[in-house]
Amino acid sequence: MSLSDRRFSTIDIVGVAAFAVMLIALYLAIVESPSERVQGIHQKIFYVHVPSALVAYVSIGVVAVGSGMYLWKRTHKWDRLAIASAELGVILTTLTLVTGSLWGRPVWGAWWNWSDARLVTTLVMWLVYVAYLMLRSLGERGPATSRAAAVLGLLGFVNVPITYFSVYLWTFLHPLPTLQSSTDRPESAILVPFLVGMAAFTLLYVYLMAMRMRLEESQHELDDLRAAREML
């Protein structure tokens, strides 16, 4: 497929929808949603924080699926799926860590809390997938690097629950005060903006995945053409 005969495709519609739903989500989160009684306005960052975190976790799962399927089937499309999802996973995890930190400062009184298993696991996960991207960028483009990355993608995925459990156990044996939260508004006032936020981040993920995989496909074609020219 060349770029000139591209029509308005499904992907473009997803892109437009992602943009529109994101605007609605922001409006609902900033204007419509109530201020939480204890945390006040700080709680509103959760409409960005939670969807980005959940989609980040999904993207890491997609990396594992792409990696496993690539090692099994050895077709390039699974490798493309893994690399695209790893990049988005790192971006979304970064967003999760930053928004969580911004919330933690006023509410917990600290940017960071080493006793929270989710925080620490997310940070470790972030590091593993940054390493994954470094492995990709330091290796030569080709099946050897794809296989190596797939191995790291699988190891990193298996590591997530074990890391979570060990940090949890570490915290469990050193208890710290946990946050009590409460609201006096009906749950739907919170649920609706949250769900719209979820939809916005999911659409954005799907859109960016499709774009990134298309870019990778073009890159692959270009590599093949260059290799063919070398042969002449």
Binding site: L127, A144, L152, I162, S166, V167, L169
Partner: protein
Amino acid sequence: MQPQQASPPGYLGQFRILFSKEIAVEFRSRETAVPMAVFAVAALIAFQFSFDLRGGTLNLVAPGVLWVAIIFASLLALGRSFAREVERGSLDGLLASPIDPGALYLAKVAANVLMLLVLEIVIVPLTAVLFNLQLFQPALLLTLVMGNIGIAAVGTILASIAARARAREALLPIMLLPLLVPVIISAVRATGLAIDERPFSEIQPWLGVLGAYDLAFVTLSALIFYVTVER
């Protein structure tokens, strides 16, 4: 199928041959165990003046100091185990022979576990002497062995990946350290409890985490290792 005079060794036989090859190479070159031990001693001295291990915080800090020294020193052994094969071109020879890559992986893991044990035979008594610690506990021995298996299991497969990449010296620790977080947490906690002479039942959960980690990564890595060395 061609008729064979002698039947080739099975998985276990291959493992035994490859393991003794690793030990023979190390015994002749001595390029891993000795530098590791010297590095770890130097690290201990650096930690002493970074944390001042004389005071009341000794029991809190010492387990971490010991494990960071072990893990940093392990990077030397892990890096060598494949870099040496790639430099000498011996990996291609190994792979051309009818061996199971899984057996090669397990032999390398076993050799690296042994290297770490040799390192610990030097560094653990030295830590006990220098910092006046009660380190000779059965639970600590178990923790060391299980921790070594975890480090070697993940480190060996990552080293085989890093050996072919550019900047492999940087890539190995970047990939390995975040994956070792569960080992660091549980080994340091178990060591701390052992030093404080706590009952075994308190140490058990941490050994459980280490056991689960070892089992998960040894199995997964032995199954998928072949993809890192295929042509």
